[in-house]
């Protein structure tokens, strides 16, 4: 049972890390427009 004293803080740290990654992805604009890109396939320009 004493392992929980280590594992729970570890879990919390991992959640914080995951949230950090999520925010980096959001701020990078990955989720800004989920619809337009499917229409852009025939476009020549990037």
């Amino acid at each position: 049972m004493n392992s929980l004293f280590l594992l729970i803080p570890l879990a919390i740290a991992m959640v914080v890390l995951a949230a950090g990654f999520l925010f980096a992805a959001i701020q990078g604009g990955q989720f800004d427009d989920l619809e337009r890109h499917q229409h852009r396939m025939p476009d020549d320009e990037p």
């Binding site: 959640v15 995951a18 949230a19 925010f23 959001i26 800004d32 337009r36």
Partner: protein, 739 residues
């Protein structure tokens, strides 16, 4: 001194001046979530000098105020003080705000999901059985730690809105939710510190997660409805190439004046309305008309701002009107006004929802008091109260109508029909007769010279040249048809002779060009929808011309679909009975009435209405004004530049009449969906309220029910978008907005 004062200097760039000295502007208002918010916002502004129409569905507010009485900065400050954040729309800023809002919402959902999952996992121990007293403080402190970002970050919008509204003594739908979240969180924190009782961190986290998800879907529906609008607003480029003393200079669009010469490179958008100077150009006007095929424009023709140069060469134009007076701006404003208008059905729902919140708060307090009074455990009483607070939120009720209307107008916009009067959607459900005008409505304004029959020695080309020359100075479909057939003919000075004839005197003699009375001509009935003209010299006929009218695209399909829906279609025309019947037969209409003056059309329409029919009138809006005004619902047709003068409850901007049948279908469907939504919302609240009060409903289930209910109403409305309902626009439009 406040930081809004900068907008007093930018007044011309952010707002538009109206005839009576007042100004109008569209404002994005953050924090506008429900109908009670709208009332709070409207109440915060002084009613005389400021008129505000706020709209939940698009999160915006149309301001109409008198700058002489009240500076803009004071209006903005008042909105700010009421607990909202006004965002002044200056071209690009609105899109950036929308993007940031979406990012923030996603971040909140992410935090609620990631941290909430951990909280629930740690909380599950206590549900399963007795916890080791050594481990319990650890588990609870960990839950507390993990639940704090969920409540304070992800739940912040609810807390801020809810308690802000409570302070202003006009509780909104967020108020019960905010009270529930705060109570659950604080009670748990105290119990953790004292190491007694139960903790509800998991309930609090669950509320926030489910509510954020429901809000996000709502906001997404809202964004879709506003997508076309934002695209329109952003389509006008911010800078343009102006020709000044032989050289090209890049100038801001705001600096353009009428008379400027502009050069538009291939693929770029036109910055201002103008007149084409170069010989010909292909223009992609899809943004304005929805028509994807580029349109040929010739020298001297009008070009709308926002259309894209689709040809391989740069084009040149002379600016006729720039900025807020351009067709594009007018169109945008028209659409904004339509989105902001409150339909009557919605006003009723608002009033009910507004009262409901007060009742919910009282019921929750009464429930809590009852359970404590009856000697129940404090934790149990608290849980019941939380469940009542959350389960009864009238969110679904107040979303029912606006979501359906937003989806319906998005669908119609895709069909090329712009809804100007929102109440028209309701009125259209009862329409049983459709009244069409002929020229310019059922048929295009363009006629074609089909046949020339010579009656003398003069050959066909010569006759054509004479007729064409006589019509040269006129701007009528017939004159246009001759011009198309014989563009090189020299103009012959002519004057009107009688009602519908032309007379010209040349060295060759006296020419008459007259319409043939359809009853006496021997060629009538040979081919339908032909109009005959006779050219005579010195009283002797020399030639007859047959002009063919062309049906607008979709006319036949529209009539067929209207028939299938059980509607009666009639044609009113100012032209002769023969011509009217011919066109009617082509389109498949049974009842055609010709030889009608505008007043007679109006009288026929009134007679139909007096006989108990509900009439939808379709006309080109310019000549049919009285008829359109008198009908129960009216649709005006507008081609490009004529848009600014178009009238009607709805305006057809795409050249396809089938959209009229779609309007009636969508209207009926929208009514069904609104009834379903309101029925669901009322049934839901009435069923779950007793359950929650009796304590049978745990708070997390209440949150699931409430979120799910809002979601259901929103998704139900999305059905209106129809097949392939992404609500998204074709690619060229997106590219146009980017250039």
């Amino acid at each position: 001194m406040n930081h809004w004062e900068v907008y007093d200097q930018l007044l011309d760039q952010v707002s538009q001046s109206l005839d009576d000295g007042r100004r109008e502007m569209l404002l994005r208002v953050e924090g506008l979530r429900c109908r009670a918010c709208v009332r709070r916002l409207e109440r915060a502004l002084p009613p005389g000098p400021v008129e505000a129409q706020a709209d939940v569905a698009s999160g915006s507010c149309l301001l109409n105020w008198d700058p002489a009485c009240l500076p803009l900065s004071a209006v903005l400050q008042a909105i700010d003080d009421a607990g909202f954040r006004p965002v002044v729309l200056a071209d690009d800023a609105s899109r950036r705000t929308a993007r940031d809002e979406r990012r923030a919402a996603l971040g909140r959902i992410g935090v609620a999901l990631l941290f909430g999952m951990q909280v629930m996992m740690l909380a599950s121990g206590e549900y399963l059985g007795e916890i080791d007293p050594v481990l319990r403080p650890l588990l609870r402190h960990a839950q507390w730690l993990l639940a704090t970002p969920v409540v304070l970050y992800a739940g912040w919008p609810f807390l801020r809105q809810g308690f802000g509204a409570l302070r202003a003594l006009s509780p909104t739908m967020d108020t019960p939710v905010a009270i529930a979240i705060a109570t659950a969180y604080l009670a748990s924190a105290i119990n953790t510190l004292l190491d007694t009782g139960a903790v509800y961190f998991d309930s609090a986290a669950m509320f926030v997660l489910l509510l954020s998800l429901a809000r996000f879907v709502e906001a997404h529906g809202r964004t879709r409805a506003a997508a076309r609008l934002r695209l329109l607003a952003g389509a006008q480029p911010l800078a343009a190439l102006r020709r000044e003393q032989g050289q090209l200079l890049e100038v801001p669009t705001s600096a353009l004046r009428a008379g400027d010469l502009l050069v538009v490179p291939p693929g770029a958008a036109v910055a201002a309305d103008g007149e084409l100077i170069c010989a010909a150009a292909a223009l992609d006007e899809s943004l304005i008309t929805g028509e994807a095929v580029p349109r040929e424009r010739r020298q001297g023709e009008a070009v709308c701002a926002g259309s894209v140069n689709a040809g391989p060469l740069p084009l040149e134009l002379r600016v006729s009107s720039a900025g807020a007076r351009s067709v594009l701006s007018q169109l945008t404003r028209l659409m904004q006004r339509a989105q902001l208008a409150k339909p009557r059905a919605q006003q009723l729902a608002d009033r009910i929802a507004g009262r409901f919140v007060g009742v919910v708060l009282l019921l929750a307090a009464a429930t809590g008091a009852y359970w404590i009074g009856s000697g129940a455990e404090l934790g149990m009483s608290l849980q019941t109260m939380l469940a009542v607070l959350v389960v009864t939120c009238p969110c679904a009720l107040s979303l029912a109508t606006p979501m359906a209307h937003a989806a319906a107008s998005t669908r119609l916009a895709r069909e090329g029909l712009m809804l100007v009067q929102v109440d028209a959607l309701h009125a259209a459900t009862r329409v049983d007769t459709v009244c069409l005008d002929k020229t310019g409505t059922l048929t295009t304004r363009r006629m074609r010279l089909q046949e020339v029959r010579t009656l003398s020695a003069l050959d066909a080309d010569a006759c054509c040249a004479v007729a064409s020359g006589m019509e040269a100075g006129l701007n009528h479909p017939i004159a246009q048809a001759f011009r198309d057939a014989c563009p090189q003919a020299p103009a012959i000075p002519s004057r009107l002779d009688g009602v519908q004839g032309l007379r010209a005197e040349t060295t060759d003699g006296v020419w008459h060009l007259s319409r043939l009375p359809s009853t006496t001509t021997d060629c009538a009935g040979a081919i339908h929808a032909l109009r005959w003209l006779e050219l005579s010299r010195d009283g002797r006929p020399v030639a007859r011309f047959a002009l063919q009218e062309q049906l607008r695209p979709g006319a036949g399909a529209m009539v067929r679909r209207l028939r299938e829906m059980g509607l009666e279609v009639v044609l009113f025309s100012g032209d002769g009975q023969e011509a009217a019947s011919g066109v009617a037969e082509l389109a498949g209409i049974a009842g055609a009435q010709g030889n009608l003056l505008p007043e007679q059309k109006l009288r026929r329409l009134a007679a139909l209405q007096a006989a108990g029919h509900r009439v939808l009138a379709v006309g080109d809006g310019i000549n049919d004004g009285p008829m359109l005004a008198a009908a129960d619902v009216s649709i005006g047709l507008a081609d490009g530049a004529a848009l600014a003068q178009a009238h009607g409850d709805a305006i057809l901007i795409q050249d396809n009449l089938e959209a009229i049948a779609v309007l009636l279908q969508v209207a009926r469907q929208a009514r069904r969906i609104v009834v379903q939504n309101i029925g669901w919302a009322i049934a839901y609240n009435l069923t779950l309220l007793p359950l929650a009060m009796s304590g049978a409903l745990p708070p997390w289930l209440a949150a699931l029910g409430m979120g799910g209910s809002s979601l259901l109403v929103t998704l139900n409305a999305q059905r209106l978008l129809g097949a392939g309902g992404s609500g998204h626009l074709p690619v060229p439009l997106v590219r146009a907005a980017q250039t």
